[in-house]
C-alpha cells in the first residue's frame, strides 16, 4: 500500500514512517496540507493519507476538505493522527470525510489495528 504521511513534526513523520516500513508499506511525506496536495498532483493518489490537524500553511482539516472536493481522490482513505481529542473535533473530521481518527500519543499496536480496520493491512 502507498501512504502519504502529512505532519509538520519531523519527529512524528519519522515515527509513523518507521511503523509503515515495519508493516511493509511504501510512503511519501509532506510537512503540511498544501505540500501534500502538490505531491498528490505530481504523483497521483495514494491508498491513504495519514494527516495531522495543526500544521502551518494548510491544516489537516483544510486538507480533508480540499481532498474530498476532488472526485479523483474519492478512493483515497484519510486517517487523522492528531492531539485534537475533543469529541466535537473527531465528529467534524468524520463529517468532512475523514475515514478514521487516531489520537496522539498512540502505540504501534493501535496504529496497526486502525490500518487493519481500514483494510490497509496488506503489504505493498
Amino acid at each position: 500500500m502507498r501512504f502519504l504521511v502529512i505532519d509538520d513534526s519531523r519527529a512524528i513523520r519519522s515515527l509513523i514512517i518507521r511503523m509503515l516500513k515495519e508493516l511493509g508499506h511504501q510512503h511519501a511525506e509532506a510537512g503540511n496540507g498544501r505540500e501534500a496536495l502538490d505531491i498528490i498532483a505530481n504523483n497521483g493518489p495514494f491508498d491513504a493519507a495519514l494527516v495531522d490537524w495543526n500544521m502551518p500553511v494548510m491544516t489537516g482539516i483544510q486538507f480533508v476538505e480540499a481532498a474530498r472536493a476532488k472526485p479523483e481522490l474519492a478512493g483515497m482513505q484519510i486517517m487523522m493522527i492528531t492531539t485534537e481529542t475533543e469529541v466535537e473535533r473527531i465528529q467534524q473530521a468524520l463529517a468532512l470525510g475523514a475515514t478514521e481518527y487516531l489520537m496522539k500519543p498512540f502505540t504501534r499496536e493501535a496504529f496497526a489495528d486502525k490500518l487493519a480496520m481500514m483494510g490497509l493491512d496488506k503489504a505493498a
Binding site: D8, S9, R10, A11, I12, S14, L15, R18, N54, M55, P56, T82, T83, E84, T85, E86, E88, K104, P105, F106, T107
Partner: protein
C-alpha cells in the same frame, strides 16, 4: 478558572510517556536538582480558555524522547532532533489537556527553548499549576499558565 485536576494532568503525562517511551512516570516533590541541562517547550491555548502549557525536562529525558521518536541511538541524536521531539512532547501533552478545557479552544504550534537561564513571560498570565515528575531518574516539570479573563 482552570478546572483540570492534578490527577488528570498526571494521567495525561503518564499516557504520553508510557505510550511513546514505555516508561512509567512518578510524581516527584520539589524543583528538579539544579545544575543539569534543561530543555523547555511551550504551546499556547486560546479560545474559551487562554494560556499556555510549558514542559521543562532534563536533557537525558529529552534525548531519550528523541531517540524513541526517530529510532536512532543516543550518539546519533542531534540538537534539531531534540527540538523536534520536545515540540511533539508539548504538543501531545498540551493537546490532550486542551480536550478537558471548555470548548472551543485552539492549540498553537509548539515553541522550543534550550538552556537553563531564560524566563518566559506571558503578559497577563500567571502559573496556576506546577507539577513535577520523574521518569527513569530524570525530572520533568509541567507548568500551566492562565491568562486572566479580559
Amino acid at each position: 478558572m482552570l478546572e483540570i485536576s492534578q490527577e488528570d494532568i498526571a494521567a495525561i503525562v503518564s499516557l504520553v510517556f508510557t505510550t511513546t517511551l514505555d516508561v512509567e512516570v512518578e510524581a516527584a516533590e520539589g524543583p528538579p536538582p539544579s545544575g543539569g541541562e534543561v530543555a523547555s517547550s511551550l504551546v499556547g491555548i486560546t479560545g474559551n480558555w487562554d494560556g499556555a502549557v510549558i514542559v521543562a525536562c532534563e536533557r537525558a529525558l529529552a534525548v531519550r524522547f528523541a531517540r524513541a521518536m526517530f529510532g536512532i541511538s543516543d550518539e546519533e541524536v542531534g540538537e534539531s532532533d531534540i527540538n523536534d521531539a520536545l515540540g511533539e512532547l508539548v504538543n501531545m501533552i498540551g493537546g490532550n489537556l486542551k480536550s478537558m478545557l471548555p470548548p472551543p479552544c485552539h492549540l498553537s504550534l509548539p515553541t522550543v527553548v534550550a538552556g537553563r537561564e531564560y524566563r518566559v513571560r506571558l503578559p497577563g498570565a500567571k502559573v496556576v499549576r506546577e507539577l513535577d515528575f520523574a521518569a527513569n531518574g530524570a525530572r520533568l516539570r509541567i507548568a500551566i499558565a492562565e491568562r486572566a479573563a479580559a
